[in-house]
Symmetry: C2
Subunit: 386 residues, 2 copies
């Protein structure tokens, strides 16, 4: 392949993936080495060449090789495999994840949640840019966003609000898997974290919208849980589900700028007092409340200092690694449970009968336990027949 | 059966069940009607007679008949059937519960939780005595207390601390099922609620110790959730699991008496402020914080007024009945899930392999999802073979 062809096809792909073409050239060379280039380098034939390239299935080993070299194109493609629901892709994805596993884990995983209107995207842009420019971190931003909870693709809108971060060479922003159950999305997000860590990202943000069930999942796959709030009485809290506050390691009061500085400080103190009333955490970390501004940068450094203080403290007392182990066990149990439930609820006899028994229970004609027993009996009987 | 024999055997049984013997005579007459009495009424033959009586299995219909008449002996025996894990008992128990279901539901179900040392038993004694004497309520006190969370039988100790309540004719105190998984205990407690309601109890307390998983279960089977605390900084809160505070409809600061009155009031204000920061509840009820004393009776009436205000408000806005329906559905789903999980984890192939896969995951040699997939595959294969 001629140098010019490499440069051109690098440019096309780099543009597509918003990458700097320098980095892409290396990856293009490593992937296409030994493959005959197209005779012409006009755009049309280049596109045909690229299309052919895409159709050649890569082996799991090739994906893993690319990921370990920090190749973002290949990382993106591997993530697409993980997100795919095609059985052929699933098998390859599982192999990629398994092979990346020994190289994963060396990162700080931070869950970030907050209701609509708290400025989550601009906050991630501000904190993220601070990390990649001032702290030399390599940052991957992921999102848990099951389709049932939010309209599809809206996180792509978020991405455009992370203008600087989305083009920074040390940052990688990936919209969430666009469809599927919460369990499925959580599984995929957790596997994507493995791939990103294997690709050398040492800081992972997992973003969620704070109004649904997904916070528990994010909490169970991150080391540190950051709840983003703003000041102004209670109206804007309505988006936050009960129970989330107690999961927070840090509550950040955003938009502490202009004429909102004082209000933010008051809100910060209120939450600090409330946090003191909560029982101690297993980590022995005392959750903090800090005010910040994504606009002026106030408090951004302090937030990161709190994260590093948390990591230092929990690494010292052994909680950090213990929690990671517990989380792995949690996902094993959770996923087993999800599979068992899916098999049950998708079974023909259950689908036929469920509504009837549900109604019997709603009408107090049958206890929920008796209804459950009968459904299980019918399920097991029809399994035996099949 | 001679009147004297009835009186004597009533006395023996009444003593055993801490009942007033007057009420028991009626029940004894209704149960033993038509059965030949023993020729002698000396204690030994009476005991043999009673033992024979116990061995004669009652039909579910007879149990239900006794329960609907408010017969406490039969209610207690029916509860014992529900708690039993013998298959023969289970079948009868299911029939009893099903037949009682149409008569159940007309009560206020109140979950009461609090860590060790907050004076839960004396609080229940104080609030309970107020209800049975001043408000003409009929009160059943149950407890969720899985054996894994607390030493067996300790709640019997609690019962002795409810001296007045335990002998009051309008109150019925039942220790928790003494063994079993949380799911099993929760199922049994919920069925016992049905029996107590069918027996005419219009107020149900479900007590739990506040340090484990059982609060979520209690919250999911009661209409109103009361968290009992005491003042004194934060030490005594350590027993309370995180997340419980957000479930509370009312936080009562107990022991507001003597030189603790001021401290209790300060603690009350702190919790009231903290509760305001929580997002609104689905019931539209604004959780309250009240100080009280089981010793002087301060605040006991106000606590009950809060419960009735809650019931009025949620009955008016439809939440009360809607929540009961949701709870029934919740228990149907939860119980199905529990059965599916039990079948899986108790299966021979899973029991053999689980430790191995758990270790693989702990050592990061296998992802939790891959491990789950393999265990499920082996489970399904060995099901096919059997």
């Amino acid at each position: 392949m001629s140098e010019r062809a490499v440069l051109l096809c690098s440019f096309v792909t780099a543009k597509k993936y918003r990458m700097d073409s320098g980095e892409h050239i290396k990856s293009a060379l490593s992937v296409t080495a030994g493959i005959e280039p197209p005779p012409m380098v006009d755009p049309a034939s280049l596109q045909r060449f690229l299309a052919r390239q895409r159709k050649t299935p890569m082996t799991a080993a090739a994906y893993v090789n690319g990921i370990l070299q920090g190749n973002r194109t290949i990382l993106s493609q591997a993530i697409t495999m993980v997100e795919s629901s095609l059985p052929a892709h699933e098998a390859v994805a599982q192999e990629i994840v398994s092979r990346c596993l020994p190289y994963a884990g060396h990162s700080v995983r931070i869950g970030i949640t907050g209701g609509p209107g708290v400025g989550k995207s601009t906050f991630i842009e501000a904190l993220g840019m601070y990390l990649v420019t001032e702290r030399q971190r390599r940052l991957a931003v992921l999102a848990i966003d099951p389709s049932s909870e939010r309209s599809k693709g809206s996180i792509l809108g978020d991405k455009t609000r992370m203008e600087q971060l989305s083009v920074h060479p040390s940052a990688f922003i990936r919209p969430s898997p666009s469809a599927g159950s919460l369990g499925g999305v959580a599984k995929k997000t957790r596997e994507i974290i493995v791939l990103c860590e294997a690709a050398g990202f040492d800081t992972i943000f997992v973003e969620t919208v704070g109004v649904g069930q997904s916070e528990t999942s994010v909490h169970a796959m991150t080391d540190f849980f950051l709840l983003l709030m703003i000041s102004g009485a209670g109206d804007e809290l309505q988006g936050i589900k009960r129970g989330i506050m107690e999961m927070a390691d840090l509550i950040a009061i955003n938009k502490a700028d202009g004429d909102r500085v004082q209000a933010a400080e008051m809100t910060r103190v209120q939450y600090q007092n409330a946090l003191r009333l909560f029982p101690p955490t297993a980590s022995q970390w005392v959750p903090k409340s800090l005010a910040c501004s994504s606009l002026t940068g106030t408090g951004i450094r302090e937030i990161w200092d709190a994260v590093t203080a948390y990591v230092d403290q929990t690494c010292a007392n052994g909680y950090f690694s213990e929690r990671r182990k517990q989380q792995s066990a949690y996902w094993m149990y959770t996923y087993i449970n999800e599979i068992l439930k899916n098999r049950f609820y998708q079974h023909a006899s259950v689908r036929d009968q469920f509504g009837y028994y549900e109604q019997q229970v709603a009408d107090s004609r049958l206890s929920p336990f008796a209804a459950a027993d009968r459904l299980i009996d019918e399920y097991l009987q029809s399994m035996d027949k099949s």
